[in-house]
Structures are given as structure tokens and as C-alpha cells.
């Protein structure tokens, strides 16, 4: 076999394996759209479930998911960014720093059901918050932390060292240097990382299973200490626990969840592209 021919075969195999990665994504999306699109209408999106969830809409689950995600990010973002600033700008290379970095890596590797049990133990039982929006948001916040810290730290470290030197050489304090010469330029990266971490946790079921989710609750949460309905958990319930569930609404719910997550990813891409185009240095 001559070199040209073997090259052709090699490229062909490489292309085929790459396509094999794309195919499942396309299939998943296609099947969910095909089966679920007929369920989606205004009533489905904006009304309470009824008749043991077999009919009616998924409004409380959509609202619950959005509340849960926003609250968790409101908790995780400040903590994560501040930790990233500390690690990137202040921390000396010593044992403490290494322990912190190791913990962050390990935190990212903990299975999500373990987070759920941890949230149950700490927030629901020990701190007596009960199964509620707040407990779920706190649990998810801890899950988001490693991603937010890692991407924020990355964003901070790409800001040129020279910006810091210029600012310091003008007698500006270290904190002001971070605040005015570093953080503004790291913001796009931090935002992108945060949105991606949101989209990752929006579909999680295990961490909210014991901490926030209600089986059936046809009303909106009134306070932080209310239980909530959440899309992924709702999807789990209607596909396994409810007999005679019309498959149309199961796929419809999956489609809504999918669109929600894809919308967040898309926002992250838009933010990143916008700032990359306007990158000033």
C-alpha cells in the first residue's frame, strides 16, 4: 500500500470516529424534539400539573429550576471569585495553598449523589433548614465552587503581569491594583466559567433529591424554606413513578430542560465571543 492510500484510510478512520461523537448528540436532540415538540404549548409551560401530574403543565418545575439555579450561583459566585483572587494574587506557594488546591480538585471529582447526602446531613438535618430551596441551592453552590474557582483563577492569570506592575509602580495598593487593573479584564472569563457551571448543575438530580425537590407541589415557592419542584427531578418522577404517564409530556419536559441548558451554554458562548472581539490587548 502506498503512502497516499494509507493516509486516505487513516483520515477516513479519524473522520468516522469523530462523527461517532457527534451522532449521539444529534440522535438525542432529534428524538427528544420529535417526541416532545407536540407537548409544548403555552398551557404546558405556564400551568400547574394536574390529575396526578398526568396532565396540566410544568410551570412550577420551570420556576423552581430557575430559582434554584439563580440562588445557588448568587451564593457560589462571590465565594468562588474571592477564593480565586486569593489563590491567584495573594497565596504563597506553601503547604496550606497546596492543600487548598488539592481540595478544589477533589471537590470537582466528588460524585453528585454524595453532595446530595452531604447537603442532607449539613443543611437539612444539622442546620435544620429542612428540605427546601435554600438547602438545595447551598448544596448546588458547593458543587459549582470548583468550576467557578478554577475558571476564575484561569481568567485572572491570563491578565498580563505587566498591568499589575504598572499599577503598583504608581504607588497603588495591591488591593486597588486587583480591583482596577486586574479584575475588570478577567471579568469575561469569570462570567463564561460561571454560566457554564450553571448549565452543568441545572440538570443535576442527585444533589437536590434529598435537599430541595418536592414530588408534587402545584404551587410556586413562597420563601427560601419552601420545597420546590425542579425539572430534572420531575422528569425522573414522571418517567418512573407515575403509571399511564403520556410519553408526550415526558419528552416535552426533557425538551424544556434541554432548551434551558442549551440556552445557558449559548449565552456563555455569546459573552465569550463578544469580549474576545472587543479584547483590548
Amino acid at each position: 500500500m502506498d503512502a497516499k492510500k494509507s493516509q486516505k484510510i487513516a483520515f477516513g478512520v479519524l473522520l468516522a470516529t469523530t462523527l461517532a461523537v457527534v451522532l449521539p448528540v444529534l440522535f438525542i436532540i432529534m428524538i427528544i424534539i420529535k417526541e416532545g415538540i407536540t407537548a409544548i404549548n403555552w398551557r404546558f409551560l405556564t400551568t400547574m400539573p394536574s390529575n396526578g401530574m398526568r396532565s396540566g403543565g410544568i410551570f412550577p418545575a420551570i420556576v423552581g429550576t430557575i430559582y434554584l439555579v439563580l440562588l445557588s450561583v448568587a451564593i457560589a459566585l462571590p465565594v468562588g471569585v474571592m477564593a480565586a483572587i486569593y489563590l491567584n494574587e495573594y497565596a504563597k506557594d506553601n503547604i496550606l495553598t497546596r492543600i487548598i488546591k488539592l481540595s478544589i480538585v477533589n471537590l470537582a471529582g466528588v460524585p453528585s449523589v454524595v453532595y446530595g447526602l452531604f447537603g442532607l446531613g449539613l443543611f437539612v438535618i444539622f442546620l435544620k433548614f429542612g428540605v427546601c430551596l435554600l438547602s438545595g441551592a447551598l448544596t448546588l453552590a458547593i458543587m459549582e465552587l470548583p468550576v467557578i474557582i478554577t475558571t476564575s483563577k484561569e481568567a485572572l492569570s491570563t491578565v498580563p503581569l505587566s498591568f499589575r506592575e504598572v499599577s503598583l509602580s504608581l504607588g497603588v495598593s495591591r488591593w486597588q491594583t486587583i480591583r482596577y487593573a486586574v479584575l475588570p479584564h478577567a471579568l469575561p472569563g469569570i462570567m463564561t466559567g460561571t454560566i457554564l457551571s450553571i448549565s452543568r448543575i441545572a440538570g443535576e438530580t442527585a444533589p437536590i433529591l434529598f435537599t430541595a425537590a418536592a414530588f408534587y407541589l402545584p404551587r410556586l415557592p413562597g420563601s427560601l424554606f419552601d420545597q420546590i419542584m425542579v425539572l430534572p427531578y420531575h422528569l425522573f418522577i414522571i418517567s418512573t413513578q407515575i403509571p399511564n404517564m403520556p410519553s408526550k409530556s415526558t419528552y416535552g419536559t426533557a425538551l424544556v430542560l434541554l432548551i434551558l441548558v442549551l440556552m445557558m451554554n449559548f449565552t456563555a458562548i455569546v459573552v465569550r465571543t463578544y469580549f474576545r472581539m472587543n479584547k483590548k490587548w
Binding site: S162, F163, E165, V166, S169, L170, G171, S173
Partner: protein, 249 residues
Amino acid sequence: MVAKITVNNLSCRFGKSQSVKKLDLTVLENEILGIIGPSNSGKTTFLRALNRLNELHPHYKQQGEIFIDGKNILLEDPELLRKRVGMVFALPLSLPLSVVENVIYGPKRHGVKSKKELEELAERCLRSASLWEEVKDRLNGAALKLSGGQQQRLCLARTLAVEPEIILFDEPCSGLDPLSTAKVEETMVELKEKYTLVLVTNNVKQASRVCDRTAFFLMGELIEIDKTEKIFISPEDKRTEEYVTGRFG
């Protein structure tokens, strides 16, 4: 002339590599002191010791003393010290802000709030840096759109805006074309009326054009310091002569 900076027995090291060895040197008030020498001769390290910027490096160690106006700078607050000892870097390091925001970056952080005061300060500093005429119509334009030479004078204006007494120049013209270089040099000579300048340069001719006195560094040691004409015409040390005449370096 009065001594502005006195350096006694200064040694600097980064980890295991020693970049400045037992240096004694005096900078006089309102002079331009040039520091020449091949790369790795400790010029920049010496300069950055004067505003304590070396300390940002985690493995930096320093021995010896530096006095400015008779006060040991290690006992001073580094932020106050750096307000008095400004620096212009080798590359024009404009911040990604507008022209005017670059100039008033320092004063704003130091608490000047009045808009009028800041505008006046910006104009005054841009004039001192001989840049005002070129940028007065695009003060709110991006600083990074200016040419390299203009950006370097902008950095100078930014340094002037915090009202230093000493300005350190770290090879300020290394990235500039001859015309821009001439402009920056002209500005430096004007500035020595009010400021004390220390100029590190790789360009021997530049030292001979603008400096009152010149010091020759080699491998972290001060070989010779004298009036510029003396260094260039009849230096004491053979190595100085070889360097300034271009036989090595």
C-alpha cells in the same frame, strides 16, 4: 549637587542567581544618571530595587541599604515610596483604557475625585510628556491605538501624574523608532529641571546624548561611574572602554 539616592553595598539575588553584587552608588538631585552595560549585568534589577518592585518576585533577596533623601527605603511604606519614585517600563505598557484614563489612573486611586482637577492634571502631565498636541483631540480614544512612541510618552505622563520626585526609565526606547526616541530623549532632558532621572539603556549612544553621568555595569558589578564625557572619551577601566567603543557587548 545634593545626593538624592545613596546606595550602600547593595546585593540582590533571585533564588540562586545573584544579579547585583555589592554595589555602591550615588544619584545626584536633578541629574540624569545613565546606566549602561550588556544584558544580564544587573541594570534592571538595580533600577527595580529603587522602587522595591523586585519584592514582587517570590524568591527575591536583598542585602545592603538604599537611602532616598537620607531615609532608608526599606523602612518606608512601599506604596508611598513608589509614589515618589516613578517608573517607565521597557515596553510601552498602556493599560487598556482611554488616553486620559491612563494618565489619571494613579491620582484617581490615590483619592483625587474632582473631575476638573483630574482634567487639568491630565493636560499638564501630557504637556510635560510632550504629547498633548498629538492627543488633545482623542483623549477619550483607546490608548492602545496610539503609536509606540506616543504610548511611551503616555506612560511617562501617567508616571508624572502621581507627582514623583525620581523617575526610573528602564530602556524606555528599546521598542521605538529613531524619531520617537528623539522625542522621548528631548522630554527627558526637559524633565531634569524638576526631577531626578535614572536611565537604564542598552543604547550606548543614547546615554552619551542625554546623561550627565554614566555608570557602567558588568555581571552585576559597578565597574565605573563618572561624568558622561569622561566615560566615553577617557574611561579608567579597560572594559568600559571596550564596551562603549563597541568592541564587546
